[in-house]
Every structure is written in structure tokens, then in C-alpha cells.
Amino acid sequence: TQLLEQSPQFLSIQEGENLTVYCNSSSVFSSLQWYRQEPGEGPVLLVTVVTGGEVKKLKRLTFQFGDARKDSSLHITAAQPGDTGLYLCAGDGSGNTPLVFGKGTRLSVIA
């Protein structure tokens, strides 16, 4: 059974601080997707990383896929209150396999 461990589970920081969220597994994934989920809504895709070592930037968010494609990180620079939310990583296998989700990191950015 593939598992994805996300850490930290909860994170509360001041506006302007930097933070990193980690997503780790003992399994290799073909790709990894990061989603953001607001209360009462579905996960909204932020990025897909496919190649080992790949780095993608989305404004102040930087996503990295580990060289071995077993782990990923999300780094937010100068966090803002609008970044508050639940961040989910999800691993994708080969072919049409279902996504394996982590438990999520609930981020709170205080003004």
C-alpha cells in the first residue's frame, strides 16, 4: 500500500515569514500533484511535478520533486493571509492509477 506522509500537519505563522511543507513516501510516484482545499470545497490543483529533481514556481510558491520521485516539498516565501488553507499532496502512479493523498497541512497565516 502506498502512503504519503505530510508534515507538519498544522502550521501557524506570521505574515511575511517563509515556510516549507514536506511530503514523503517510501514509494516511487510517476508524478506528484499539490492541491489546495478550502472548507466545503474540492481540492484545487496548484501544480504537477513529473521529473525527478524538477522545480516549479507559482508566484511565491516553489514546488520541488525529489530526485528519486519519492518526496516533494512546497516552499512559500513571504506568506500572506490569503495563503491560509489546507495544502494536500497526492501521488500518481503509472497508467490510470488513482491518486494517493497525504493527510494535508493546514496553514494559518496571521496578519
Binding site: Q33, G40, G42, N96, K103
Partner: protein, 115 residues
């Protein structure tokens, strides 16, 4: 931007009753999925569907569950005899190709409450 739509947004049902959750995937997508999220827990896979048949299903997806694509646009999840533990958010997702670099897009979910 095209999106996955789900109805109803909230369904309240008595235990033992049948419930049908509806989804309209993105129009050019071919692969469809149902996931559920029990309050406070992680998103769990239920079933995947392609070419009018189930591709894969999890242990959660027992005989009480079924899926159907009755026409060219809808994708439904039926629970035949609901149990209290079926209370959860149910998410439909779709993607256009069965490749891992093609992301799954999610609807906003149906909150199912079993009384």
C-alpha cells in the same frame, strides 16, 4: 475554465435509504473517479471508470456501491443502503488521459449526511 460539477452540494438521508450522487466531468475528459473524505481524515479513493467500465476500485467500494455513466455527460455514484459511516464528502474527479502527468480535476463535492 471548464470544471467538474457535482450535485447536490449537500444530501441528508435516513440510514438504509438509497442515495445517488451526480457528477458532470469536464467535457473532453475520458477518465472518471470518485473519492471520499470523512471529516478530519484524508481523501480516499473509491473507484475509477474508463470506457464504460470500472478500471479499479478500493476496499471501501463494496457491493453497496455502484457507478454509472448513463449518458454522455453524467457520472453517478449510487449507495444502495446507506450506513452511518457513509457520512462524508464525496468528490468526483476527471482527467482527459490516463497518464500520470495529466492531473485530475476535482468537483466541489457532495456532503452526504446519514441520519
Amino acid at each position: 475554465e471548464p470544471e467538474v460539477t457535482q450535485t447536490p452540494s449537500h444530501q441528508v438521508t435516513q440510514m438504509g435509504q438509497e442515495v445517488i450522487l451526480r457528477c458532470v466531468p469536464i467535457s473532453n475528459h475520458l477518465y472518471f473517479y470518485w473519492y471520499r473524505q470523512i471529516l478530519g481524515q484524508k481523501v480516499e479513493f473509491l473507484v475509477s471508470f474508463y470506457n464504460n467500465e470500472i478500471s479499479e476500485k478500493s476496499e471501501i467500494f463494496d457491493d453497496q456501491f455502484s457507478v454509472e455513466r448513463p449518458d454522455g455527460s453524467n457520472f453517478t455514484l449510487k449507495i444502495r443502503s446507506t450506513k452511518l459511516e457513509d457520512s462524508a464528502m464525496y468528490f468526483c474527479a476527471s482527467r482527459n488521459r490516463g497518464l500520470s502527468n495529466q492531473p485530475q480535476h476535482f468537483g466541489d463535492g457532495t456532503r452526504l449526511s446519514i441520519l
